[in-house]
C-alpha cells in the first residue's frame, strides 16, 4: 500500500547560489539554482506540510532586490496547482525556525504547527547573549516569534521535545539537535505504515541541501559532506545524515532536501504556468497524478 501522496512544491528560487553555501568546502566552484520548496503530505484523511516558506510582504522586496530570490508565489497559488488551499492544511511540521521555513505561518489558519522546543528555547537563550554574539541570530525574524505566540495561545503550537512517533499515522518526527540550527528536526513518512517500513521517506529540511551532502561527489564511492552552514557542528550533521540514510534503507533518493533542484531528474515533475516546479515523489492508493 501507499498511504500518502508526497509532493515537493517550489514557491521561489535563487537562480545563482554559490555552491560553497550548499556543500562544505566548495569555494570558487560556481553557482547553481537553489529552489525554495515546501512539502505536501496527503493521505489517511490528513493534509500536512513540511515547512511553509516565507512571507513575501515582510521579506520579499529585500530578498528579491538584494539577494536575488526570484519568482515568489503565495501558498494559495502554489497549493492550488494540486487542488488544495492553505485552509485545508491541518498539520505543519517546521524543520527549523529560519524565516524561509517558518515565515508564513499566518497563511495557514487551520493548521497545528509542530516545532522542537529546543529550537525556541535556544533562540531565546541566544537573545540573552551580548551583542557580539549576534551572528547566532541570523535567519531569525522576531515577527515569526511573535506570530508563534498567537499560535501557542490558540493551542496550535506543539513544542516537541526530541523524537515523536506517529504524529500522524506513519509520520514521525526526529530531533537533529545542534546541527543546522539548535533544534532542527526531520520528518519521516513510513508510506506503507509499517513499523519497519520498506517505503520510508525523509524530509530533511536544511540538514542537507543537495545530493552531494548525502553521497559526496562520486556516487560510486559515497561519502557524507555537510552543508556549508551549521549553527551546531559538522560532526552532528554527518551523524544525522547517517541516521537519515539508514532510515530509508540506504536509498538516498528517499532523503529529500527541499532545496535540491535535481529532484526533477529522479521523480516525475512539471512546471506550472508561473514557472514553478512540482515534483511528485509518491501517489497514495487511488490518488490522481498532479504532474501528468
Amino acid at each position: 500500500m501507499t498511504a500518502y501522496s508526497l509532493w515537493v512544491m517550489e514557491f521561489a528560487a535563487v537562480p545563482n547560489y554559490p555552491q560553497s553555501g550548499l556543500i562544505y568546502g566548495m569555494h570558487n566552484q560556481g553557482t547553481r539554482k537553489l529552489p525554495y520548496c515546501y512539502i505536501v503530505i496527503k493521505g489517511q484523511g490528513h493534509l500536512a506540510m513540511v515547512d511553509v516558506g516565507y512571507n513575501h510582504k515582510a521579506h520579499g522586496e529585500v530578498l528579491a532586490n538584494t539577494y536575488g530570490v526570484r519568482g515568489w508565489h503565495p501558498p494559495r497559488e502554489v497549493l492550488g496547482e494540486i487542488g488544495i488551499t492553505p485552509e485545508d492544511i491541518g498539520t505543519v511540521f517546521i524543520t527549523h525556525a529560519h524565516f524561509d521555513h517558518m515565515g508564513n505561518i499566518e497563511d495557514f489558519p487551520n493548521a497545528t504547527f509542530y516545532l522542537q522546543e529546543r529550537e525556541l528555547s535556544k533562540w531565546v537563550w541566544t537573545m540573552s547573549l551580548p551583542r557580539r554574539f549576534r551572528w547566532l541570530m541570523l535567519g531569525i525574524d522576531p515577527a515569526d516569534i511573535l506570530r508563534a505566540v498567537d499560535l501557542a495561545r490558540q493551542g496550535r503550537l506543539v513544542c516537541v521535545d526530541g523524537d515523536r512517533e506517529n504524529v500522524l499515522p506513519g509520520v514521525d518526527l526526529h530531533a537533529a539537535f545542534d546541527t543546522h540550527t539548535w533544534g532542527s528536526m526531520y520528518v519521516t513518512v513510513r508510506n506503507d505504515l509499517a513499523t519497519n517500513s520498506e517505503s520510508s521517506w525523509v524530509f530533511c529540511g536544511d540538514l542537507a541541501y543537495t545530493q552531494e551532502n548525502l553521497r559526496g561527489h562520486d556516487p560510486k564511492d559515497p561519502e557524507y559532506i555537510p552543508i556549508g552552514f551549521a549553527m551546531g557542528s559538522q560532526f552532528n550533521l554527518i551523524m544525522k545524515t547517517e541516521e537519515m540514510v539508514k532510515s530509508v534503507g540506504g536509498d538516498i533518493t528517499h532523503v529529500v532536501p527541499p532545496h535540491e533542484e535535481r529532484l526533477k531528474d529522479l521523480f516525475p515533475s512539471r512546471i506550472t504556468k508561473a514557472g514553478l516546479r512540482i515534483t511528485e515523489l509518491a501517489l497514495a492508493d487511488g490518488e490522481k497524478s498532479q504532474v501528468h
Binding site: G21, L63, Y67, G68, R131, G139, A143, I145
Partner: protein, 140 residues
C-alpha cells in the same frame, strides 16, 4: 540616495535600532515559551535581565540621535517603538500576563518595521550570511 548628514545619522543610529529589535525579540521569545507552557519561561529568565539592560542602552543611544529632515520620520518611529517596547518590558515586572505584554510589544515591533521602511540601512532580519540567499554582486 541620502545626503551626508543623513548617512551619518544612519551609521550612528543603527545600534539603537538593533538594540530595540533585540529587546523586542527577547520579549517575544519569552512570550512564546510562556504561551507554549515551557518551564523555562519566567520573569527571571536571563533574556529578560539582558533585555532590561539593553533597553536602557538603547534609550541612551536614542536620546543622543540628531535626525536630519530626511531621517525625521525614522526617528519618530524609533521613539514610538521605544515607548511601546518599554511599556511591554515594564509589564514583565509583575506576573507574566501575556496580553499586557503582547499588545504594546506588537505595537512597538510594528513601529520598528515602519522605521526600517522609512530609511535605508535598517533591516528587520539579518539576511547577511543567512542560508537563504547570497548578496547580489558577491556571488560572481
Amino acid at each position: 540616495m541620502v545626503d551626508d548628514a543623513t548617512a551619518t545619522y544612519i551609521v550612528d543610529n543603527q545600534r539603537c535600532f538593533e538594540d530595540l529589535k533585540q529587546v523586542a525579540s527577547q520579549l517575544a521569545g519569552l512570550l512564546v515559551l510562556a504561551a507554549a507552557g515551557s518551564k523555562e519561561a519566567s520573569p527571571h529568565h536571563p533574556a529578560l535581565l539582558r533585555a532590561r539592560e539593553l533597553y536602557r542602552e538603547a534609550m541612551d543611544e536614542m536620546h543622543r540621535g540628531r535626525p536630519t529632515e530626511r531621517a525625521r520620520k525614522h526617528h519618530e518611529h524609533v521613539a514610538k517603538a521605544a515607548a511601546m517596547i518599554g511599556a511591554a518590558l515594564r509589564q514583565t515586572e509583575g506576573a507574566f500576563d501575556l496580553d499586557r505584554i503582547l499588545i504594546p510589544l506588537r505595537a512597538g515591533y510594528a513601529e520598528l518595521e515602519r522605521a526600517a521602511d522609512a530609511l535605508p540601512g535598517f533591516e528587520m532580519v539579518s539576511y547577511e550570511r543567512a542560508c537563504c540567499g547570497q548578496r547580489l554582486g558577491q556571488s560572481k
